[in-house]
């Protein structure tokens, strides 16, 4: 029984856990731990279709589709992808350029700049610098634009799923 108790403990700790996620198992009925672990998504088996909601339960699929098409969610998604996708393209291109430059233009990479520093070392330090810079910009973007809105939408969605 110890396991069951600890499971109940964290289940109760997190408010607004959507019961409808588990193929319509009501929140009050003790959910079998394995049912929840094997089915983070509705339907542990092979059924690809969304689970049929039990009578009285909210249709989770409807809620998710409604939230997905809402303006608030569109803004969160835009704020995430608008930064993350271009930034990923940028750093991957910059890294591949750096990598291919070693193979394609070794002479250019050997050119001396100042003291023992050559182009290759400058680009290497540039990779460190760009990694730190992008990390900082991404963190700031997420903190100022996305975090609060995402948290509000999370509680809102979980309320609608209850």
């Amino acid at each position: 029984m110890a396991q069951q108790q600890s499971f109940d403990w964290w289940d109760g700790r997190l408010p607004g856990r959507p019961a409808a996620l588990w193929a319509g198992v009501p929140a009050q009925a003790t959910p079998s731990p394995s049912a929840s672990s094997a089915a983070a998504a509705a339907g542990a088996g092979d059924a690809p279709a969304p689970a049929v909601p039990a009578p009285g339960a909210v249709d989770a699929a409807e809620v998710y589709r409604a939230v997905q098409s809402s303006e608030a969610f569109a803004r969160i998604r835009r704020d995430h992808r608008g930064f993350a996708l271009p930034a990923t393209a940028l750093f991957l291109t910059w890294y591949l350029f750096y990598l291919v430059a070693q193979a394609a233009a070794p002479e250019l990479m050997r050119r001396q700049l100042a003291g023992p520093l050559n182009v290759a070392w400058l680009l290497a330090l540039g990779q460190f610098a760009s990694t730190f810079l992008l990390t900082w910009r991404y963190a700031r973007n997420a903190r100022t634009k996305r975090d609060r809105a995402a948290l509000e939408l999370r509680w809102d969605t979980q309320d609608r799923l209850r």
Binding site: A40, A44, T131
Partner: protein, 544 residues
Amino acid sequence: MSARAALAAGAWSSGRHGLAVALFAVVVLVTLGITLWAGRRGRAAEDFYAGGRGFSPLQNGLALSGDYLSAASFLGVTGLIALYGYDGVLYSIGFLVAWLLVLMLVAELVRNAGRYTLADVLAVRMRARPVRAAAGTAGLVVSLLYLVAQMVGAGSLVALLLGTGDGPAKTWTIVGVGALMIVYVTVGGMRATTWIQIVKAVLLVAGSVLLTVLVLVRFHGDLAGLMRTAAERSGAGDAYLEPGLRYGASLTSRLDFVSLGLALVLGTAGLPHIVCRFYTVPTARAARRSTIWAIGLVGGFYLMAVVLGLGAAALVGSAAVRRANPAGNTAVPLLAAELGGGPGSTRGVLLFALISAIAFATILAVVAGLTLASSAAFAHDLYAGAWRRGDGTQVTERQEVLAARLSAVAIGALAIVLSLFAQRLNVAFLVGLAFAVAASANLPTLLYSLFWSRFTTRGAVWAVYGGLVPAVLLVVFSPVVSGTAASVLPGVDFHLFPLENPGLVSIPLGFLAGWIGTVTSREPADPARFAEMEVRSLTGAGAV
């Protein structure tokens, strides 16, 4: 010079490595203590796989860098820099840049959508059984490859550090490290593993800072002077500071390096033991902040590794480093002895033993993390998620955790046996291969599921196998396995593929297979399930 050579040759072993042995014993006792303490605090699946999800961003950031900075980084990368200068630096950059992908596209979304493993994320949208079977298999293969690499490295390293040479000492080290990791994971689960990572990361960073400061003090803060002296004492002159000393011999070797670089930068986001870590914090925001800590720690570490590698070349000399170990793996301990006042002095002995013990702790922590990730892939994805049971019942949580503990023992034993046979293989190659398989099999399916609305179950399964199978096959038919004197099977030659690292070919194949699988699917993607994936991954609604 002769004193250094004697140290390098391992003739230093006459009782003086007693201190190192004592410190190794302290590391083992402390980690076992942590395991016993942590193992008593909760026995649910949540505790075993995710350490109770109560770690702070700083703690998890330390643990992430602890999981990531293996002995291959601490000793291998610094050794490469000591021997090959700039080309060693080039090698370390892929390891750092890879974290941007983890930060921006993986950490938060995976934390929100999943539960314990990478396959949980796929199961949000896809039919659970086939994708869990595929992703669980790929997770096991990646973790086992990485595990064997670390254990082979541990064997030769401990033998080297203790001056016991080859043979039985190596074998017993592998068996001992394997037994320890089994105990950590079966008794302590994720909570013990995480605390071991935290302790190790703090030790590693403290040791690196200490040595870096000592090197900089020795050169009065003159970095240009450090670079010039390193180039002088490397025996290669100016070429030491230029690209091409290691990876520039031919077009094939340069292409091989591009392949490795691609695998490094795309593989990190698909490593099961890294993905698992995001479930030990309570929220996606905490997952992001722990990744930021990890980037700071990993980046800072590699910057220090540059100074340490240059310092080893400048103070110990590349020739002495190579004499001690042809791959340069003992450059940092030798540097420590030198900075302490030379191999003969008390402080030199002390610093050497201290740095060796940190390297040992590094190995123990990384193998524990890997064993945990592979037991989660087995028990949570394959045993509880993918395999059919005759009576059609679900596995209970208690059964699943028991299976996870038992599989940790079995996987540990398997890793020990494989490592004993793999002792001839190059450690850096094995790590590069694990990254290539992770990038080919795990990354395409993960990114498609998170971002592509039309992605289907067939696409997911094809993406995993379409990356996994070519990656493994290309290695079998590469010069690593046959055809050259350094191959696993030096006597025969059936190599068809010129590169040692398959990433350049197998990563695009993984993405291509996922796309073909999707467009040829008979069942279309379910827009409702994609809506759930998008909403959950970006807002955290319904996240555990």
